[in-house]
Structures are given as structure tokens and as C-alpha cells.
């Protein structure tokens, strides 16, 4: 255990009457600046270069596949009647779910004054934006004629003389995901401005200084600015919190508002939101465990942070498990034959392997986090979160494909098989995600320095003036 924590201090132990330190080591403000800035200022490591080249190659492959798709038509996917949604929508819902942890950590944990969020929120927010970028790609190309995707926007068209249909959940989705992407981007960027100013002030290179100077908008650290900034941050957090909950609710409406057995259930909104947080946190941990090691951030992203995130995974994983059970119960209790069939078919039909993969990864594997040893050992967390990621992808596969492949009319049933394009696009979307994330690690402050310093200031204040007086 002591190996995992550089200075040997275990901050996962609760001491009565004390707050566990969130910044470890004999640190000061300058050391925080140094620790975070060295990530971007030093020469890229070999592992970063290799990772970037692989991700970038996958991104190119995704681009080629999209061109091939647009040139040839959607027939290159495995989407066949009656499974018209197929993998593109599975991937969309998967990535939107991943995109939930960032804003949740930034907004909801901020509103609940969970200070441990400060050292992880930046990377998690970045992940949110990159995941939303991946998510937005899929419906954009799934519309068939991707070059007309702008028809989704309510603009006064000279060709159509008509407007989008606002009573459709698919259009709600457009507004929800684009609003979410925009607000997350504003939130992320606004949070970064003081740290970009740090980058600006440390730059030796003229061009670098100019670029960061423009990005940081002339931030001077004035206390008046800080006051309005803090207020704006709190307001954005208060706005983003209901937004996080609304996005996957609306994504779930895509399914729940339809009449398809297995989709038409009222449990979908809470179930999707819990699943999204679950998968988002899993992805945050999957990325953070290797990167904190590689980027040398163990003093700021401590074992206590990992421990806390594992607890959230345990809680949301259990909620997801409960939702699976509730769905089955309602299918039986509702006594609608199609609904009953849909669920029996999910678990014991031709896609039984997908269903039980999902249950194993999502319900059983997070239960290991009841054991503290597992919550505080990075490599174990890493493995479990990989399982959770796989499980959550399969959850969306199970929902989309099993319900569509066998609905009301048995003569229309079919079995879905993905093509190489489906596979390429799933893997390629990881290329897009990782490319953006790795660029972010090199170019942007990966940890919110200002907030971490503020946490440290409180820690110093408590040490100097004693606990309990504050």
C-alpha cells in the first residue's frame, strides 16, 4: 500500500475530528504549479508519443470509414431491417454515458462541497467534452444523408419551407446533447482560464506566451475578477447539475417514448442516468490510473480520490443492478405478453451471451468494491473499471439490438451481425477520444491548479488555526 502513495501517508484512513488531507507531501503553492505544469512543459515521453501515434492512426481510420460510409451508403453497416439503429446508436448512447462523469464531478460534487473533486475535475471535464464529441459523431452519420444533418436545426429554410418536429424525442435529443456539449465546453474553458494564465506567465517562448495569452483572455488574478468568477462558476455548476440529469433522461426518451417492447418503460430515465454516471466514473478511473502514474500526479490524485470514485461506482453499479431486476419484475407484473417476451428473450434468447456479459460486468464486478483493499489498489481498480466499461457498452447493445431484433411481428425478426465498418468505427471512436485526451494532457493544465491551491490554503489554515474553529 505504501508503494502506491509516494510519501507513505495513507489518506484513506478516517481520523475522528480531522479532515483527511487531499494534497499530499510537504507541498506549497509553487510545488503544485510545478507538478502540473511539468506535464505540459517537459518533452513528451515515449509512451505518450506511441499512444498518440496509435490513437491518431485510429482517428484517421475512423475518418476513412466515415468517408467510405458517406460515399457508399449506410448499407456498409450491419444495420438491417428491423435493427435499423444498430451499433451507431449503441456507440452514441455509450459515449454520451461516458460524458456524464465530468460534469457530474464538476457540478454536483461542487455543489455538495466535495473538495476531493478539485484535482480530478479538469481531466474529467475534458473527458466529458471528448466523449460528447465521439457521441455526436454517430447520430450525425446515422441520419443516412449525413450532408443534410443540418436539417435537424430549426433554421428558416428556403428549400423546405418547414420546421423540425418538436414533439419527437429524437429532436429533444439534438437539443439536449448540443446544449450539454456547449455548457460543458463553457464550464471546462472557464475553469481553465486562471490555469491558462499560469501557463502564459511561465512561458519562455514568445509564440507560446501569445497563444496562452489569448486563451487566458488577459486574466490577472484580480480579487474582483475572482469574486465574479467564483459566482459564475457556482451558477454554471447549478445550471449544469440539472443538465447532467436531463441529458441522459432525454436520451432514454428516444427509447421510452417509442412503443417497442423492452423500451417502453418509465424506469428508463433514472436507469439511464445511473448507468451514465456509472460508466462515466469507470472511464475516468480507467484513464486516470495510468495517467497519474505517467504524468507524476500521485500527490494530487491520491488514493483517497480513487477510493471515493470507487464508492460512487459501487453505488451506481448497485442502482443499475436494481434497475435490471425492476425491469424484469415490471415485465412480469405488467402482464403484457410482448413485454414479458422481450425480457425473457433478452436473457435467454439469441443474445443471451450479451445479456449475461452485461450482468457479470455491471452488477457483479463492482460489488468487489465493498472490500477496501480493492478500492485502494490501483491495478485492481483499473481491471474492474475496464470490465465496467465493457459491461456498459453491452448494456446499450442489449437494449438497442435485442428489442429491435424481435418485436411484435415474428415474421420480421432478424439477427444482427456487425460488419467490419461497425467494428472500425467503434475502435476509431476510441482513437478520436484518446487523440483529444492525449493532446489535452500536453497542451492544457490537466489539474485545476487554482482550486487545488485553494484546497491547500484551507489545509494550511486548518493546520495553523486548529480543527473545529472553522
Amino acid at each position: 500500500m505504501s508503494l502506491a502513495i509516494p510519501n507513505g501517508l495513507d489518506n484513506t484512513v478516517e481520523r475522528p475530528g480531522e479532515r483527511a488531507p487531499l494534497v499530499l507531501g510537504e507541498t506549497d503553492y509553487h510545488e503544485i504549479t510545478e507538478t502540473v505544469c511539468q506535464v505540459a512543459e517537459r518533452k513528451p515521453s515515449t509512451s505518450w508519443v506511441i499512444g498518440f501515434l496509435v490513437s491518431f492512426a485510429l482517428l484517421q481510420w475512423l475518418g476513412i470509414c466515415i468517408l467510405y460510409l458517406i460515399y457508399t451508403g449506410v448499407g456498409v453497416w450491419g444495420n438491417r431491417s428491423p435493427i435499423f439503429w444498430g451499433w451507431p446508436i449503441v456507440n452514441f448512447v455509450f459515449w454520451v454515458g461516458i460524458g456524464h462523469a465530468g460534469t457530474l464531478i464538476s457540478a454536483i460534487l461542487f455543489l455538495f462541497r466535495q473538495e476531493w473533486r478539485t484535482s480530478i475535475n479538469r481531466a474529467a471535464e475534458a473527458m466529458t467534452i471528448f466523449a460528447v464529441a465521439c457521441a455526436g459523431t454517430f447520430p450525425g452519420i446515422h441520419v443516412g444523408r449525413a450532408w443534410l444533418a443540418f436539417w435537424l436545426a430549426p433554421y428558416p429554410s428556403l428549400n423546405l419551407w418547414m420546421w423540425p418536429q418538436f414533439r419527437s424525442p429524437l429532436l429533444w435529443d439534438v437539443f439536449a446533447v448540443s446544449t450539454y456539449g456547449t455548457v460543458s465546453l463553457l464550464f471546462w474553458y472557464m475553469g481553465m482560464v486562471p490555469d491558462l494564465a499560469t501557463f502564459r506567465d511561465r512561458s519562455k517562448n514568445k509564440w507560446r506566451r501569445m497563444a496562452y495569452g489569448i486563451l487566458s483572455l488577459g486574466w490577472s488574478g484580480s480579487s474582483r475578477h475572482w469574486m465574479r468568477y467564483e459566482k459564475a462558476y457556482a451558477l454554471l455548476a447549478a445550471l449544469a447539475a440539472p443538465l447532467v440529469l436531463s441529458v441522459n433522461t432525454i436520451v432514454s426518451f428516444d427509447f421510452a417514448v417509442s412503443q417497442v417492447p423492452g423500451w417502453h418503460t418509465t424506469i428508463f430515465p433514472p436507469y439511464f442516468v445511473a448507468g451514465a454516471i456509472f460508466s462515466g466514473f469507470a472511464m475516468v478511473l480507467t484513464l486516470m490510473i495510468p495517467s497519474r502514474k505517467m504524468l507524476g500526479l500521485e500527490k494530487l490524485i491520491t488514493i483517497r480520490h480513487l477510493d471515493n470514485m470507487c464508492k460512487i461506482i459501487l453505488a451506481t453499479g448497485s442502482m443499475v443492478g436494481l434497475a435490471y431486476g425492476t425491469e424484469f419484475f415490471i415485465a412480469w407484473y405488467g402482464q403484457v405478453q410482448e413485454e414479458k417476451f422481450a425480457f425473457i428473450n433478452r436473457a435467454f434468447g439469441p443474445y443471451w451471451w450479451a445479456y449475461w456479459t452485461m450482468v457479470t460486468c455491471n452488477v457483479i464486478s463492482p460489488q468487489l468494491f465493498w472490500v477496501k483493499k480493492f478500492r485502494t489498489t490501483p491495478w485492481i481498480i483499473f481491471i474492474i473499471t475496464i470490465f465496467v466499461n465493457i459491461g456498459m457498452w453491452f448494456e446499450r447493445f442489449v437494449i438497442v439490438v435485442t428489442s429491435l431484433s424481435r418485436d411484435y411481428v415474428p415474421s420480421a425478426w432478424a439477427y444482427f451481425s456487425p460488419t467490419w465498418v461497425d467494428w472500425s468505427m467503434l475502435i476509431g471512436s476510441f482513437g478520436l477520444f484518446m487523440t483529444l485526451f492525449l493532446l489535452f494532457c500536453r497542451l492544457m493544465p490537466v489539474i485545476n491548479m487554482a482550486e487545488t491551491k485553494s484546497t491547500l490554503a484551507k489545509q494550511i489554515h486548518l493546520e495553523e488555526h486548529g480543527y473545529g474553529n472553522h
Binding site: Y29, H30, T33, R145, W147, P154, L158, W163, Q165, F166, R167, S168, P169, L171, W172, F175, A176, T179, T182, V183, L186, F187, M190, P194, T198, R200, D201, R202, G213, I214, L217, G218, S220, G221, S222, S223, R224, H225, W226, M227, R228, Y229, E230, K231, A232, L235, L236, L239, A240, L243, S246, I250, F253, M449, A450, E451, K453, S454, A457, E464
Partner: protein, 503 residues
């Protein structure tokens, strides 16, 4: 200091190394009565507003206002677009279906409020501001790292350089500096403007191209970026394909396909008319009949058929209805109403006298089935003319009802009403009866004809026509039925007598 004297002095700044020392200095500066002061820190220092006397911001009201605008814009946009400008009903929802409009309005509320918070904050802070005199001191770079600065502006009423330096000196700072104007060149490099103009110019070109294409007319074919469905990938007749095993793009006809005009039609069988005889009597009519079966499309020739060709129908048999002239009421019970002078076309037509199909049990059973389905509702199962529809019509005293014929009446007997004529009646209808050519196949219509003949015979038969072997059983059965009927009649009579007494 001498070179600084020529530049404009903006204020004086002092550096601190900890939050506590900064806060102490702030309080002292505030208590000394300075108003135009500011502190600079690498993070939001809590308590500094109080220490410096900074008023709260109006930002929350801006955000609230933006959110309200977002909600109103969201709702009015949807109502106007989906209910007023282009109204359409989806799944029976009302025109202004508020529940369905809530998600988008909700998202827009948050979006606008977030814009308000983001842009409002920068606007209130006066950012972006890239040139700031306070940045002239390289030491100030550490404000975003680990140092805290306190600043008193020269515009403050109490400002006096020596006095401020004195005050700062007492607060335990190690560094005091006068903030002077930024003397670096404020000229933006020319290359920047050139690049900017180039970007703007280049980005306008596609817009102009599109505008030109939209606003001008051209005789050239449309330029297709994407083909959409404008060009069909269909193959031509003689091309090859990999889709089918035989490699031919043009598919052979389905077995049994008959090309238009190539069908060999047995006209006698189709119309119930002896065509050879008709040709001798009325060649033109026979020719029209044949043509109407061979080519059901409207006739282009100048010659007009005797019956007005107003109703265009696709079914050949219905066409015949007009050709043969069933509209003229000529047969059945209304015979007396027929014009006496000119004989009806129904009487002059040389009908087939014999059913062209060979009579057998199978045919009769087929006829019985179809008679039961289509005819019995009016004519009754025994052909007595008292089917369910007729009974209902009698019950409600329908004034325009013409009772269906009793099929066993003498006027419909085979010798006066030939099989062909009966077939024609079934096909094209008569009086209230519609034609059934569209519903019943030709063969089945002939089967019905055969069955009707059998019915007629059965209704007018005597016991002597029954084979000797079955005669006895029938007689026995008849006696039983008769007895039952008598008993029933007696019981009904008794009840009828009793009823008035009860009342």
C-alpha cells in the same frame, strides 16, 4: 526611478507570500480609507471581499434574466414553428402540446442562462483585456503561481506615492513597485492583418459561389455534390449483373405471366354469350366486346359504344356490363314494365344455353360454397328469396327495396332464362343486385350457375325424382318433420290464445 517619472503612474503594488499576510494588508489598506484598491491572487481567496470592501456582483440577476429569456424563446419558438407557421398534428396531440415542448424549452433555458453566466462574467470583469499596465512588471508573473499582490490605484482620492509606500512598508511586504504605463509597442504586426484579411476573404468565396448558384439561372444540368436519389442505379436491359446466378440484369417473366393483349380468351366462357351467333346478329357489338377483354384501356377509336362509356373501370368483366347493356331492366318480376315496342338486348342476345363447365360433384360443392357466401344473404340458403337482408328490409319497411328474386320461379327456369344469361346477371348485376365479377372468379360464377340450377330442381322436385333406394328414408323424415311442425303450430296457437287473457 528617473525613467519612470516620464511615464504615467497607474498605481503601486506590493507583494505578499501568504494568504494571511495579504488579508492583513487588505484590512489595513481598507481601514486607512483607500477605495480604489485591488488584490491579486493565484486562487480565490476567501474573505477578501470583506477585507477589501468589495460589493457583491449583479451576475446572478443577469443569469436569471437570460434563463427566463431562454425559456420564453424555447416555448414561443416551438409553438410558432409547430403550431402556427407550419401547423401539424402528431399522434393526436393538441396544437400547443406543452408537455412535448418542455424538454427543448428546458434545455434552452439552461443554455441561455449558461451563456449569461459565461459571457456576463467576462463582460463584468472587462475581459478579454490583453494589455494591462500591471503586467509590465515581470515579477507579477508569479501572481498566477504562488504570490499575492495588493494594489492601490493612482486615481484614489487619497493617493500619494510616498504615503502608500509607507503604508505598504508597514504591512510586512518585501517588494513594492510603481505600476507604470506599458511602453511596449501597441502596434499589431502588419502580417497579422494580412492573414486576417486573407482568412476573411477566403471564407467569403464559398458563400459567394453558393449565392451565385442560387440567384442566377443556368442552362447547364444541375451540379450534384451528392447524388441523393436523382440517379437510379438500375441496370439497362442487356447489361450483366452479379446479383443473380444467371448474370442477366433483365429478369425473365414469372411463370404463367401473360403479356398484355396476348391472352387467349374464351369469350363464350368469359361472357356467357354465344359469340359466333352474336357476330352474325351484331358484328360490331361482338367486336367491341372482344376488344374490351383483350385491351381494357379506354378505346381511342371514334366509334362510340352503344352504352355511354362514362365509367372507366379496370376489370374487364365490368366493362362488359356496359357493353351488354344490363342497365336496361328487362327480366324478372318487373317484366311487365319492360317496353313492349323494342325487344330488350337481354332477350335478343344469343346466350349460352349450357354451362361450359363439366357438371360434377366438385363443381356443385364449389357453387354451393360460393352461393352460401355471396348469394344466400339476399336470396336465402334455399334460393327462396328470403335471405337475412331481405328479412331485415321487410322488417324496417325499406321503401326503396326491391325484393330479390325467388330463384325457383318459372321465369328463371333453364328454358326461358339460359345459363349464359344467369351467368351474365351474376357477373354484372341487375336492379338492386350489384355485379360480382370483381369478387368471384369466372369459374366460380359458373359453379354458382350450376348450383342454382340444382337448387331450382330441388325446390320444384317430386318424390318420384328421388332414387328409389332413398325414397323411403326421405318419406319417413318428411313425416317426422311434418309432425314436429304441427305440434309447434298447435303450441303457438295455444300460446296466442292464452296471451290476451294474461294481459
Amino acid at each position: 526611478m528617473s525613467e519612470n517619472n516620464e511615464k504615467k503612474v497607474h498605481g503601486i503594488v506590493a507583494e505578499y507570500t501568504s494568504v494571511d499576510s495579504l488579508l492583513n494588508a487588505c484590512r489595513r489598506v481598507r481601514d486607512a480609507g483607500y477605495k480604489k484598491t485591488d488584490a491579486f491572487a493565484p486562487f480565490a481567496v476567501h474573505g477578501i471581499e470583506k477585507a477589501l470592501g468589495i460589493k457583491p456582483t449583479v451576475l446572478p440577476w443577469i443569469v436569471f434574466g437570460c434563463g427566463a429569456v431562454g425559456a420564453i424563446v424555447g416555448l414561443t419558438m416551438q409553438i410558432w414553428m409547430n403550431s402556427i407557421d407550419y401547423p401539424y398534428i402528431i399522434s393526436g396531440k393538441p396544437m400547443i402540446s406543452l408537455p412535448a415542448f418542455i424538454p427543448v424549452a428546458y434545455e434552452l433555458t439552461i443554455l441561455f442562462a449558461a451563456f449569461g453566466a459565461f459571457f456576463g462574467m467576462w463582460a463584468l470583469n472587462g475581459l478579454p483585456r490583453f494589455s494591462n499596465p500591471i503586467f509590465t512588471d515581470p515579477r507579477f508573473d508569479r501572481v498566477t503561481d504562488d504570490r499575492f499582490f495588493l494594489y492601490i490605484d493612482a486615481k484614489d482620492e487619497q493617493f500619494d506615492e510616498a504615503g502608500v509606500r509607507q503604508l505598504f512598508g508597514d504591512t510586512g511586504t518585501e517588494y513594492i513597485q510603481t505600476v507604470v504605463d506599458d511602453d511596449s509597442s501597441s502596434k499589431v504586426p502588419k502580417g497579422f492583418f494580412i492573414a486576417w484579411a486573407a482568412v476573411i476573404g477566403l471564407s467569403v468565396i464559398p458563400v459567394l459561389v453558393v449565392l451565385k448558384m442560387r440567384l442566377t439561372k443556368s442552362s447547364l444540368p444541375r451540379f450534384h455534390v451528392f447524388f441523393d436519389m436523382d440517379f437510379s442505379p438500375a441496370k439497362d436491359a442487356q447489361q450483366t449483373t452479379t446479383l443473380f446466378a444467371d448474370g442477366r440484369a433483365m429478369r425473365p417473366d414469372v411463370a404463367g405471366t401473360v403479356a398484355r393483349g396476348d391472352m387467349l380468351i374464351d369469350m363464350d366462357y368469359m361472357t356467357g354469350i354465344d359469340m359466333e351467333a352474336l357476330t352474325q346478329v351484331d358484328a360490331r357489338r361482338a367486336e367491341r366486346l372482344v376488344r374490351s377483354f383483350a385491351d381494357p384501356s379506354p378505346q381511342q377509336e371514334g366509334e362510340q359504344p352503344p352504352v355511354a362509356d362514362t365509367e372507366e373501370t379496370s376489370a374487364p368483366a365490368e366493362k362488359t356490363a356496359e357493353e351488354t347493356g344490363v342497365q336496361e331492366e328487362a327480366t324478372g318480376e318487373t317484366e311487365s314494365a319492360a317496353p313492349a315496342a323494342a325487344p330488350s338486348v337481354m332477350d335478343t342476345t344469343p346466350w349460352l344455353t349450357q354451362n361450359p363447365l363439366p357438371l360434377n360433384k366438385q363443381l356443385l360443392e364449389r357453387g354451393q360454397t360460393y352461393f352460401g357466401i355471396y348469394c344466400s344473404v339476399c336470396h336465402g340458403l334455399n334460393g327462396g328469396g328470403n335471405g337475412l337482408v331481405n328479412r331485415r328490409a321487410q322488417k324496417i319497411l325499406a321503401t326503396n327495396w326491391i325484393p330479390p328474386s325467388k330463384l325457383n320461379q318459372p321465369t328463371l327456369a333453364q328454358d326461358v332464362y339460359p345459363d349464359g344469361k344467369l351467368f351474365n346477371t351474376i357477373s354484372n348485376g341487375i336492379r338492386k343486385m350489384p355485379g360480382y365479377a370483381a369478387q368471384i372468379t369466372t369459374r366460380d360464377r359458373w359453379a354458382i350457375v350450376a348450383y342454382v340450377r340444382a337448387l331450382q330442381q330441388s325446390q320444384n322436385a317430386s318424390i318420384n325424382e328421388v332414387p328409389a333406394a332413398e325414397r323411403e328414408a326421405i318419406l319417413k323424415q318428411q313425416a317426422e318433420v311434418k309432425k314436429q311442425l304441427e305440434e309447434q303450430a298447435a303450441a303457438e296457437a295455444a300460446q296466442a290464445n292464452a296471451e290476451p287473457g294474461d294481459n
